[in-house]
């Protein structure tokens, strides 16, 4: 089975075919599948993803069998962009990095497809939903498998499209549509930088090497050539990497382009789980990994990545402290966790970043799906202030959610502990690298404070939702929404809870894929990915004892936070209110997300809109007015001229123009003056030419 070749293209193709078929069914309605829409879609949409996953496994098996230094399978489907200057193919390169991503994406996507069968049951847009979800998966697979930047960009924008479509899935509420549009446009701002990075790299590298190409293998292996080059006065690798990173801040919701992600929670919860937690938002992290060879040439850019990542992690965690919407907490938590991943990438710990990407996909996917199950159970009420004490009513959801909370809080031995610890350890060690001790220590502090906050707000969420007294939705708002009595709350069906259990299992044990040597493991994940990037300098094995102490520190911090959270939300419930009343300004600022949306509206959105109105005015009342002015002046001149003409030039010309005027039919009545002009131009032109001829 493992000698199958040329199948890589099928991995994204199957979901795309599915998207097309279910899209047709969505457009043509129930008759497309002869009334069996729900049944057909429920079986075949997840199946498409499962096939991709299965083919991915085959390739995974193939890659493992290859020698460590040549673990890449490259398959070209056909040439795509082609000019005398360069060729870019529809081609896929599967190496340890991309195959891991393929398995994460298709695996998590499959589980979420299954979950959605239950979650979206009865929705009038059932088929449309699965069409989008399939398309998303296909695009995400293209993104991670592409062998060149241009093709990656297809996936990059393709997932953005699907994100747009799915955030605004319930389009009848204009706010959902607005959130979708915001996501797309903010992402486009990032894409604009991405494009600039892409083309700068193409030309600078091409001019330096004589080979023009967008292929990753070429870019990464020749990136060192860039070191001597400059662009617009900046060192080329730094400029290019900063541009790519701005692209990443859009897709992966980092400062300053993160504002779309919390709004994106308007989409159905499986979408939040798949796109806005597990896969798409990690594309920026993956991209830095994919371009690792390039980023290693840009120490300043990497430092920027680490700093932005570190600050975003803390910044978003502080906002998450105050949110009451069950999904909003998770959204800010995602922004924060993505910050961790960028922190890892920035300190050069690529495999640690990707490892956290994977464990995060499991536990954040789990948490979102769990919150979706809660939302189902609560009859579409998302406000945690109305929840509480749900654990006995929703046993599976409650337990699996707790596993997710433990994992994200970094409690040993859940997955998040290992991945987060790896990042913190590497950040600490970065003081020996190009970042320098000061920045590294600040970053480590940011990381550990964020870890404390994370444990706090995640347990806050758990306590507010699952333990204590049930508070119930208020009766007055939304008559049909919400659960008013605990008896109204119900556990979700198996099709929802089974994916929860699988993800919970993965969240519990995935850490062992990368068990550090100091704990007796082989760091399999790290070693598997290591061949993707040039070997880093230095050896970390001398820091084993340090690693243990740092791990102990972070677990202690997390446990203390859990304890504080327990006191706040279980023991002394008046405490949160007291604290808030002590610092109302700070609380308001956090609750309103530092007013960043309002700021962007003032400094970006409104200026563009008024600029556009200004241009519209300018076009109508200046540019066009000049044209019309020239027209009317000519008309008056022609009237005078016409008088002279009628009295001086003989009737032959008049006869001819009358003939044409007759042809003009009814138009003649209104605009005769203009038609005369035509003749004057033509006659005038001929006269000029005649004069030229006579002179010569």
């Amino acid at each position: 089975m493992t000698d199958i070749q040329g199948l890589a293209g099928l991995i994204p193709l199957f979901p795309i075919i599915g998207a097309f078929i279910f899209g047709m069914s969505a457009v043509f309605g129930d008759k497309f599948f002869k009334g069996n829409t729900v049944r057909v879609v429920s079986v075949f949409s997840p199946l498409m993803i499962f096939i991709s996953f299965a083919i991915g496994l085959i390739y995974f098996a193939k890659i493992i069998q290859l020698p460590v230094d040549s673990r890449v399978i490259h398959e070209v489907v056909f040439p795509w962009f082609k000019s005398a200057l360069f060729v870019s193919n529809i081609g896929f390169a599967l190496d340890p990095l991309s195959i891991i991503m393929v398995l994460i994406v298709s695996g998590v996507s499959f589980l979420i497809h299954v979950y959605s069968i239950g979650y979206m049951r009865g929705d009038p847009g059932y088929s449309r939903f699965f069409s989008y979800l399939n398309l998303f998966t296909g695009m995400m697979l293209i993104l991670v498998m592409a062998d060149n930047l241009l093709l990656m960009f297809v996936g990059w924008e393709g997932v953005g499209l699907c994100s747009y479509l799915l955030i605004g899935f319930w389009y009848k509420d204009i706010n959902n549509s607005r959130a979708g549009m915001k996501a797309f446009i903010v992402n486009r701002i990032g894409d604009f930088a991405f494009i600039i990075g892409m083309f700068t790299m193409f030309w600078v590298l091409g001019n330096a090497t004589g080979i023009y190409s967008f292929d990753f293998s070429f870019l990464n292996s020749n990136a060192s050539v860039l070191a001597k080059e400059t662009i617009l006065g900046f060192p080329a690798p730094e400029f290019i990497c900063i541009m790519f990173f701005i692209g990443a801040t859009g897709k992966s919701a980092q400062i300053p382009l993160y504002t779309w992600l919390p709004d994106a929670m308007a989409g159905p919860t499986p979408v939040s789980a798949l796109i806005h937690a597990a896969t798409m938002v990690t594309a920026g992290v993956f991209m830095i990994g994919r371009l690792g060879g390039l980023f290693m040439q840009a120490p300043i850019a990497l430092t920027v990545v680490a700093i932005i990542g570190g600050f975003t992690a803390l910044f978003a965690a502080t906002i998450a402290l105050t949110q009451n919407d069950i999904k909003k907490v998770l959204a800010y938590s995602t922004v924060s966790q993505l910050g961790y991943m960028f922190l890892a990438m920035g300190v050069g710990a690529f495999s640690a970043g990707i490892f956290h990407l994977m464990t995060h996909a499991f536990f954040k996917g789990l948490l979102f799906l769990g919150s979706g199950s809660v939302i189902l159970g609560m009859h579409h009420d998302q406000d945690m202030r109305h929840m509480g004490g749900l654990a006995p009513r929703m046993k599976i959801t409650g337990r699996t959610f707790l596993i997710g909370v433990l994992a994200i809080s970094g409690i040993f031995p859940f997955a998040g502990f290992f991945s987060k610890d790896e990042i913190l350890f590497n950040t600490f060690l970065a003081s020996h690298g190009s970042i320098g001790p000061l920045v590294a220590n600040i970053l480590y502090t940011l990381g550990i404070v964020t870890a404390a906050l994370t444990a706090f707000y995640m347990f806050r969420q758990y306590f507010m939702t699952f333990s204590g007294e049930f508070r119930g939705s208020p009766k007055d708002d939304h008559g049909h929404h919400g659960a008013h009595k605990l008896e109204d709350v119900h556990e979700s069906p198996k099709v929802v809870t089974i994916p929860l259990m699988i993800l919970a299992l993965l969240s519990a044990v995935a850490g062992f894929f990368n068990l550090p040597e100091v704990m007796g493991g082989g760091a399999w994940f790290h070693h598997f990915l290591a061949s993707v990037w040039p070997a880093p300098k230095g050896d970390h094995s001398q820091y084993h004892s340090l690693e243990i102490s740092l791990a102990a520190l972070s677990v202690t911090v997390a446990l203390v936070s859990v304890g504080v959270s327990y006191i706040f939300y279980r023991k002394k419930k008046e405490l949160p209110g007291k604290v808030v009343s002590k610092i109302p300004k700070i609380h308001q600022t956090l609750y309103n997300k530092y007013y960043v949306d309002e700021l962007y509206d003032k400094i970006a959105v409104q200026p563009v809109l008024s600029g556009s109105r200004g241009i519209g005015w300018f076009d109508k009342y200046i540019v066009d007015a000049v044209v019309n002015g020239v027209g009317s002046v000519t008309k008056y001149v022609s009237k005078i001229n016409g008088w002279i003409d009628a009295n001086i030039v003989d009737g032959a010309v008049n006869g001819l123009s009358n003939l044409v005027l007759w042809a003009g039919g009814k138009i003649r009545k209104i605009q005769t003056g203009y038609l005369y002009n035509y003749f004057y131009y033509a006659v005038g032109g001929a006269m000029i030419i005649a004069i030229i001829m006579i002179i010569l």
């Binding site: 795509w80 962009f81 200057l85 600039i196 066009d624 027209g631 039919g665 138009i667």
Partner: protein
Amino acid sequence: MINEHILTFITFFPLLGIPAILLLPKDKINAARWITLIVLGVSLVLSIDLYFLYDVTNPVRAYSEARSDLMFVEDLIWIKAFDIHYLVGVDGLSMPMVILTTFVSFVGAISSWDIKKAQRGYFILYILLYVGMMGVFVSIDFFLFYVFWEIMLLPMYFLIGIWGGPRKEYAAIKFFLYTLFGSVFMLIVMISFYLFSDLDPDPNKVLHTFNLVELGKSGVLMGPFVDGFLGLSAGAIKTIAWIFLFIGFAIKIPAFPFHTWLPDAHVEAPTAISVILAGVLLKMGTYGLIRINYPILPMETANLGPYLFAGLGVINIIYGALAAMAQTDLKKLIAYSSVSHMGFVMLGMGAFNIAGLNGAVLQMFNHGTITSMLFLLVGVVYDRAHHRDIDGFGGLASVVPKYTAFTAFAFFAGLGLPGLSGFISEALCFIGGFQQYKILTMIAASGVILNAAYLLWAFQRIFLGKLNEKYSDLPEIKMREVFSLVPMAAFVLVFGVYPLPILNLMAPTLEKIIEIIKPFVG
């Protein structure tokens, strides 16, 4: 026989429809649209045939050894006294335009189905319009080119002026005079090219020519183009000639600030005519610049191109996008989006490298297909709601899902979504532009944000949100309308994923054109 004279057939065969339409009995006037569809269908099939016959490795009736990519040449003496030839041929530059013209015209004929007023006149003019456009793209003789250029004006004038909207007269006159104003400049240059050209190597004999290929050869242009004139140097004369030609073509593109006729013409024109206008006519401007300015005045092209191609192109992109955002009339919005999208063509043209020129010509084709879809779709909703006010709809997605799906597809194609054809050409224009103009191209690239913003914003206001109850029983898109959209959608999708057929088609010619200009680019 047909293959020998395939270009003549493609261009003139539809003329046979005119007597047929005139001979229709009064009660069978509806058949005019069938006749038009059939004659244009024949040309369409022939153009597909032409695509398969066009093979650079096996040229048919090539112009010369050196220009073997210029094929299916027919050369007859038309007016002997002035050395005017009926000289037609196609190369990699005109092939995509020929195919675009037959497809867009055919699709436009389908969407003309509901024309009720004076059908005979409409379809006769429509056929004439087609002949004029096709003639422009196949002419290799400047005079012939000019004649077709002017032929196309008149039917367009009447088609807007008679079958148009409330302000049709104003729009028609504006279009007509504006274009005519430009073509007077072209005329002057054309005649001076003729008068000061000499093909005869014998210094005592003179042989003037309108032949565009020969005019591009060094040493053919004489007189003021070598010695100067009225105290102006030869360089200045050439620069003036270049600018005159540019004015003529820029109005058609339309390049800022010559663009204001376009929104008016579009808003007033009937749907099919808007489709033709945006789908084919605008391309004649950029086509003319590449066909005439590039090879005949390469040095001036290299000198002025950075400002008037790339510079104005970037203004077009940004200005057009911002102006589009300010519109409330959907058709006007699409019209300004054309201004923006044609800016990409100009940027690519101004790049003076193969990627840019490839991108420019491909963008001409892709914009033709994408914008055709957009105007067809505007027509669909206008037919039903009788207005185009973007804010006057709301929530249509739940009433007309098929129409919504087509519009979403066209809008995303319009905003250059990767995987659809517009992305390929825009990216090539950027790649090309970036080599020459870093900052300028970066500014241009910000157009991708603006394009997304105004298209998605319009989409949201029309289709999403709460349904406007006025339109709760808006009829869904009809089969005939779907037929007119599908060919365009197919081009957009196929060339987005597999653009090789069209890239290979144009590559040999465009490489030759770049070779001409290269020595002059600093």
